[in-house]
């Protein structure tokens, strides 16, 4: 695996901020960012259910593997030099349920979190 494509929600402030942060991190595997359900995304992945990608973060590897929601987050961590260890840690059977719960909670409330003044200031 040489690159991962992240289908992110361009309308969410938190996602934009995360995008900026990721751009600065040293990577083991390259990350490409494509707005979800955009023409570019549809062109790259003609068979993907693009309505689903609007609901939660989706990640597609260069060999066509689709990672959805918490798995996509773990894969993003896995691509970073400093956080690969954490990806394995959070994916252990003991921690995975908690990881999934926390990630789903953040994902579902991403617009509200983006409106929190501190996050808002960071994303402007």
């Amino acid at each position: 695996m040489f690159s991962l494509t992240v289908l992110y929600d361009p309308e969410c402030g938190l996602c934009r901020r995360a995008h900026e942060w990721l751009a600065e991190q040293a990577k083991i595997v390259d990350l490409h960012f494509v707005p979800c359900a955009s023409d570019e995304a549809r062109r790259r992945y003609p068979q993907l259910n693009h309505d689903l990608t609007k609901k939660d973060l989706t990640l597609v590897s260069d060999d066509g593997g689709v990672y959805f929601g918490p798995k996509a987050w773990l894969m993003v961590l896995w691509s970073l030099v400093r956080y690969r260890e954490w990806a394995y840690r959070l994916a252990t059977p003991e921690l995975l349920p908690t990881t999934k719960r926390v990630v789903s909670m953040i994902s579902q409330n991403r617009y509200q979190i983006s409106r929190v003044p501190v996050v808002n200031r960071l994303t402007r």
Binding site: M1, I28, Y45, G64, V66, Y67, R84, Y88, A91
Partner: protein
């Protein structure tokens, strides 16, 4: 030569000999580890190994030099042996600490290098066709 000066000389001789022994052990046995960390690049492994040993010598000789002063006058052989036990014991503990610190650095380097080739932590949920770029 007073007994005090003899004590200092014995202390220096023992400490220097111990430091050299530990550094050589580290140098000899750490090499295999480093070659693995640097994916068989022996020149780089040797270079890093050498630099680590230089740092090891500097810190240990620095400690040995700073800890030389006894602060009291040694008059009998018994006092001399007691003073040596404290001084050499401290040097041994510092050497042991440094040695484990080095091992920790080696294992961390190795873990990091191994990690770069490890598979993803989770399996994909599905597979999709990827439009090939022209």
């Amino acid at each position: 030569m007073t007994i005090g000066i003899t004590t200092y000389l014995i202390y220096l001789a023992v400490s220097i000999a111990l430091t050299i022994w530990v550094a050589r052990t580290l140098h000899k046995n750490g090499r295999v580890f480093l070659v693995d960390v640097f994916h068989g690049n022996e020149a780089l492994a040797d270079s890093v190994n050498h630099l680590l040993v230089v740092g090891f010598y500097l810190i240990n000789f620095g400690y040995v030099t700073l800890a030389l002063k006894l602060g009291y006058v040694v008059t009998t052989a018994e006092q001399s042996i007691e003073a040596l036990s404290v001084k050499v014991g401290m040097v041994l503990l510092v050497l042991g600490g440094m040695h484990f610190f080095n091992l920790f650095i080696f294992s961390r380097m190795r873990r990091r290098s191994v990690q770069h080739t490890q598979p993803p932590p989770v399996a994909p949920d599905a597979f999709t066709a990827v439009h090939q770029e022209a």
